[in-house]
């Protein structure tokens, strides 16, 4: 029996109450979904948390599977749904906690050239930041690009650039005792 057909058979047995088959099916599903989620999320904790949520959803929705159609698209539809939900909540949280760049700039000197705190003076600290954040700060404060231009150049969304810059400012503020 090939692997694909095995999943349908396992689900049919699981629906009939076979606990062993159900455990095997969920194991196989987890094996299938882990790389799918890992490609879309960058934290392994988040992958495992979401995977568990998806397995619970599969358990809750198993009455909508009859064993007569391919199992994989059914499970993937649930996985995508939960992934989108997760991302929506995740980014909504970020937006809620995000501070406008203009607000953040208030804690930094208005004119870098007139201040004692220049990009060059804190370049060492900036280099210690995660690579993406350091690049963004360098482009904004050393090369004079706007957040939108940075976004275009490095292929990110403007909001993501702002969020990354905001995080970098917070780290620097903490380190520099602002």
């Amino acid at each position: 029996m090939d692997k694909k057909a095995a999943l349908e058979t396992l689900m049919r047995l699981a629906l009939a109450g076979d606990q062993r088959a159900y455990a095997d099916l969920l194991q196989e599903t987890a094996r299938l979904l882990r790389p799918f989620l890992a490609r879309r999320l960058n934290q392994s904790d988040a992958v495992e948390d979401l995977l568990q949520e998806i397995l619970l959803s599969i358990h809750k929705a198993r009455h909508t599977y009859d064993g007569n159609r391919p199992y994989r698209p059914w499970a993937l539809a649930i996985a995508k749904f939960r992934l989108l939900d997760h991302l929506r909540t995740h980014y909504a949280d970020h937006l809620r906690h995000a501070v406008e760049l203009s607000e953040v700039e208030n804690i930094l000197p208005g004119h870098v050239t007139e201040s004692a705190l220049t990009y060059e003076s804190i370049a060492g600290e900036i280099d210690k930041l995660p690579e993406k954040q350091a690049t963004i700060l360098q482009m904004i404060h050393q090369q004079g690009y706007t957040a939108r231009e940075v976004a275009e150049k490095i292929g990110m969304k403007e909001s993501a650039v702002k969020v990354a810059a905001h995080r970098a400012y917070k780290i620097l503020k903490k380190k520099l005792g602002g």
């Binding site: 109450g17 495992e48 995977l51 358990h59 909508t64 009859d66 995508k80 749904f81």
Partner: protein, 211 residues
Amino acid sequence: MGNTEELIKALAQDATPVKPVAHPFVQCAKWMAGGTVYVALSVMYLGLRPDVMTRLHSPMFVAELGLLGGIIVATILSAALLAFPDMHQKRGVAFAPVFAIMLFVLAIFLAWQADNPPSALPEHNVECFLCITSLALLPAAWLLYSMRKFASTHPYLAGGIALLCAFSIGALALRLSEQTDSMAHIVQWHYLPMIGVGIVGLWLGRVFLKW
């Protein structure tokens, strides 16, 4: 990783026999039967329009009713498929209401053109919308309640389609009982509100079809 293993063990222990829900076409047939009975009862309650036999000789009227019926069938079918996480792997069929609505809009446009000189406007206006909405309440509640037993991964769309279906049922019942032929009135107070109702349905879907 350990937690996932434990979760799988716990879920497997909970694996009692489960009866799969009916095929979407069977579900669709049930909802269709319910919708037909409801339209019939509503028309009986409101009274069949006295000129119905004459109007049934008008191809535009027949096309309008037929396509409104088509929207009901297409939305019921779509709702039945959207209730499944994977749309029962019949994605194309789930979008059938798009074609039904396009044809309906075309028929209404032609009927409006044919309503020349325009028929007299009735004295009432918003009452029609309120009547259709009242008639749609029960089918909407029934559809949303039935769909909750499934596991839709498109709750917004499913909610919108369910409400569109319920409103079409109400609109069909009223069209069969109200003796009005002014297309301006019918478009404005019978059919245009469908757009708003569909939007409300998107929100209701999010609220009621969450799982």
